[in-house]
Every structure is written in C-alpha cells, then in structure tokens.
C-alpha cells in the first residue's frame, strides 16, 4: 500500500464511513426546533427589525457590496416580499422538522436567514451566524434517511431503501463545533484576565450580560469558574473524537450551555451549540443512548402499575 493510498484510506475512514442516519435524524429535529424558535422571533419582529418602516430603513444597509445576494436588494420596500420570506422560512422549518425534503428545507432556512442578516446586520450575535452556517452545512447530512416523512413515503410507495449514507456532513458539523470551542479558547488565552483566572468576575458582574449581576468577591471561586471554562472549551475539540470520552464531553457541553443560558442574557448561542450536539454521535452512541432510554422508560413502565395499588391500600 502506497503512502497516498494510506492517506486516502484514512480520509475515507473519517469522512466516508457509513451511518444508519439516526443521529442525523435527531439533529434534524433539534435544529428544526431551534429554527421554529427563530421563526417565532422573526414573526414577532418582522416590521420592527426588517421592514422599511422599521428601526433600520433599507438605505442604511443598501450599500453593502453583497446585498445583491438577497431578495431585499431587488425589492427593498416590498411588504409582500418581507412577509413572503417569513412564510417561506416557517414552511421550510416545518418541512425540516417532519423530514419532508429536509435537505432542501435546511438550505432554504439558511438562505432566508442569511437574507435577514443582510437586511439588518445590527441585531446579530455569534449564535445567528452559527445557526446559518450549521443550516448550510446540514445540506450534506442525510437528514431524511430515518424518522422522516421522506422515509415513510418511500416505504409507502414500496420503493427499495436508499444505499447507506455516509458521515461526511456530520463530520463537517463536528469540525465546525470543535473549531468554535478551539477558536474561543485561543481568543481567551490571549487575554490576561482569562489566564489569571479572573475573567468571569467581569462577565458575571456585567448587568448587560448577567441574569443576576454580582461581583464575586471570593477569588478562588472566580478562578475555578474561569479555568474550568477554559478546560472544558479545550477538552471538547480534543476528546470529541474518542468514543469513550464523547458522552462525557457532550454531557458537559450540554450542562455548560444550559448553565450559560440560565445565568446569562445571551440569545440563541447556547441553543445552537446544544442543537448541534446530536450530530457528534455515531451509530454505536445512538444504540447505547436508545438502550439507556429503553431501560429508563421500561423501569418507569414497570413501576407505573404499582401506583393504583398504593392508592387502594391507603
């Protein structure tokens, strides 16, 4: 085997391993739920944020050299277009959730979101950017292979099953997620406050970002919080690739982001990170997760009939 061939086999093992599409389906649902949340935000603010009568008239953003990419460039005053975009976003979200042409749907979600980003770039945060990137990359994920209307229709029509998909799209999402943490860690390590372990004192005392702003006087606690953030953010891109460590890294990630969302006033970012976590699971992880859920649910089901007996005894 030549060196080139070895390299190619490595590439194929990483990017082209087959998958049963279950983790892609779970990711589709979590991402779809987040898209539904975004759709709600769009409808509640359509006039205020994106119409020409809103906070930002088109003239202010019209000079951006990439505006031509969006329909707003061609009809900036059109209410029909504005509402049409919101309707298309909502329909694509519904299609994504149920798995009806989900790859087309995710592309539409990403494109309409991009258009809204161009129409009003001043309301955006990192979570919005990540939401759009993940949506665009999800085109390469076998979103409709399992647990979807597409799969159900295929079965109903008696068509043969599709050949097993591969993990290419999932890998792109995993790399994206890993890079977010790595880039974030490197940015933090460049700042003295993070290196000395005092950065979270600034963050948690900010009344703009903290849900309950407080100046933490107890420095060891601040250091533990700050450095554990760095340790987690550095661990994720290193250990997410190893099956034994993966469940722990993902569980830590979910807890980390729930913690951020509870204590801080930061929209969407934590949820897009959590919603992308299922894309990190492989087939064996999914099998273990299913068996765990079955055990938990089975235990509950066995425990359930005992309830009436207790009532009767009392």
């Amino acid at each position: 085997m030549t060196r080139m061939e070895r390299l190619e086999r490595l590439w194929l093992a990483f990017f082209c391993a087959p998958t049963n599409g279950e983790s892609a389906a779970v990711f589709r649902v979590t991402y779809g739920l987040l898209a539904a949340w975004q759709a709600l935000g769009i409808w509640l603010n359509l006039e205020r944020f994106w119409s020409d009568d809103g906070l930002i008239p088109y003239d202010i953003v019209g000079g951006d050299k990439h505006q031509f990419l969006t329909p707003f460039f061609w009809a900036p005053d059109s209410r029909t277009l504005l509402y049409g975009m919101a309707v298309v976003f909502s329909l694509a979200t519904a299609a994504l959730l149920v798995g009806f042409y989900p790859r087309v749907a995710t592309l539409v979600v990403a494109y309409v979101h991009l258009s809204f980003q161009y129409r009003n770039p001043f309301i955006l945060n990192s979570g919005d950017r990540l939401f759009m990137i993940v949506g665009a990359l999800a085109v390469a994920v076998p979103l409709g292979y399992r647990f979807s209307v597409d799969a159900w229709l295929r079965k109903l029509r008696g068509r043969p099953p599709l050949p097993a998909p591969n993990v290419w799209g999932l890998r792109l999402l995993q790399l994206q997620l890993a890079y977010v943490y790595l880039n974030s860690t490197l940015a933090k390590l460049g700042n003295t406050r993070w290196r000395t372990g005092l950065a979270l004192r600034d963050v948690l005392s900010s009344p703009v970002f903290a849900e309950w702003p407080m100046y933490i006087d107890f420095t060891p606690l601040v250091r533990v919080l700050t450095w554990s953030t760095l340790v987690f953010e550095l661990s994720f891109p290193l250990f997410i690739w190893f099956r034994r460590a993966r469940p722990w890294v993902l569980a830590a990630g979910v807890m980390f982001h729930i913690g951020i969302d509870t204590t801080m006033l930061i929209p969407i970012f934590s949820w897009i990170m959590i919603a992308t976590c299922p894309a990190c699971l492989d087939d064996e992880d999914m099998a273990r997760l299913k068996s765990l859920l079955r055990r938990v649910l089975g235990r509950r089901a066995r425990a359930a009939p005992k309830e009436p007996e207790r009532v009767a005894e009392s």
Partner: protein, 226 residues
C-alpha cells in the same frame, strides 16, 4: 438535490459506495469517471471549507492574505466567523430610549435591560440588546442612530398620540477592580436626541447610498462578545 437521489446521500465522497459494505468505500482509482468527479468535488469543497474556517477565525492580517480566494465564501455567504466569546472583558453598557410626548415626559419605550421583564417581552426583545447597545458607539450612532430614533417618532407608545422628542440614554453601571474598589461610578448620560416635529421630515436626513459600498459591520464575536 433531493433525498430521493441515491448519490445525494453520499455527497461527492462516496458516490462509489453503492456496494460499500464490509470492505468500506472504494478508493479513487477504483471509481468510474462520474464518481471520481463527485469525490473530487467533495474533497475539494471540504478542503476549501476547512481552509476558510481556519482563516475566518484568524487575526485580520491572516484573513487579508486569503481574502481574494476566501472572501466571498467567508463574508459574502458568511460561512465563517471568529468565536471570541468574551475573549475580551465585556464593556457593553445599557442604552434606553425615552420619549417626550404631548401627554407625558421621559417615558422609557425601549431598553436593553432583560431583567424584570415578562417572558413575552424577553422573547420578543431578545435582540434589542445587541442593536440598541451599539448606540453608545459613535460610529454606529452616526450610521443608524437618527433612523433608529426616528422609528420612535413614528410609533408613539400606547395611549400617547404625538411624540415630540426621543432621547437615547446611556446607563453606565458601576465597575470595581479586583480589590473591590469602585473604578467607575454608576451614572447616566444622554447620548443624542431627535426632535420629531416640524424640522425633520421623514428620511430627509438619510445619507445617500455610497457608490462604492460601505464596509459591513464588524462580524459578531469579533470584538470578543456574544
């Protein structure tokens, strides 16, 4: 690109793999012409995307080098970003919008504060913090500040008929150093004001769109905040 197409499940990389069973996907040399092209496209996109992601998160000097090749993908399609995430200590402050109407003075109609608001208001106004806090920056204020305040001229609060003056007020919170000493006392200051009636017809003040295009606003996260 539909899910009904067999190759759509195997984008580029494993179009060959219809028979990819226990032996795994075929090597490039074993593929037919069409599958070779698909795999080459898949590999090329993957490498291009990863290069763009790495360059997109790098320092501006590095970004600039790759701009001719990756610029449209990174900034036009917005497929990359830097993820500072409080890499720099947060320095954002609250900004509130107050109006004087025919019926009353100093009514707060919009605030970046999230605390103490109803769940509905929090969901609806979750993005107000980002845009309104930008008014404390002179560049952003010059760019869209007057348009922003003009919106409140045109939309009086419920129960009010005519807005006369709109003010953006910066609420500076107290800052303390690591020894607990106050380094900045809490205070408020009026950032700028807009008179609604008479001398400011709608949009008359708007700048003409530049012929060459304006630079886009800084990417989210670039300043180290979310």
């Amino acid at each position: 690109m539909t899910d009904a197409s067999p190759t759509s499940e195997q984008p580029g990389a494993d179009a060959a793999g219809a028979d990819a069973g226990a032996s795994g996907p075929k090597l490039y040399a074993e593929l037919g012409f069409r599958d070779r092209m698909l795999r080459a496209a898949g590999i090329a996109f993957t490498l291009y995307h990863l290069a763009a992601v790495l360059a997109g998160g790098a320092i501006p000097q590095v970004k600039k080098v790759f701009e001719p090749v990756l610029g449209f993908y990174s900034e036009g399609l917005r497929m990359t970003n830097s993820w500072g995430m409080f890499g720099k200590p947060p320095n954002t402050t609250h900004v509130t919008i107050e109006v004087d109407t025919k019926e009353g003075r100093g009514l707060v109609v919009s605030t970046t504060k999230g605390q103490g608001r109803s769940p509905f208001e929090r969901v609806r106004d979750t993005r107000i913090r980002k845009i309104q806090a930008k008014l404390s920056d002179e560049g952003d204020r010059n760019r869209f500040g007057q348009a922003y305040l003009d919106y409140f001229c045109r939309h009086p609060p419920p129960g009010h008929t005519e807005v006369r003056v709109v003010r953006a007020t910066n609420v500076l919170h107290e800052l303390r150093d690591d020894d607990g000493n106050v380094t900045r006392a809490a205070s408020t200051r009026v950032l700028f004001t807009r008179r609604c009636a008479g001398n400011a017809p709608y949009k008359s003040w708007l700048p003409r769109p530049p012929a060459t295009g304006r630079p886009p606003p800084a990417a989210p996260g670039a300043e180290g905040e979310l």
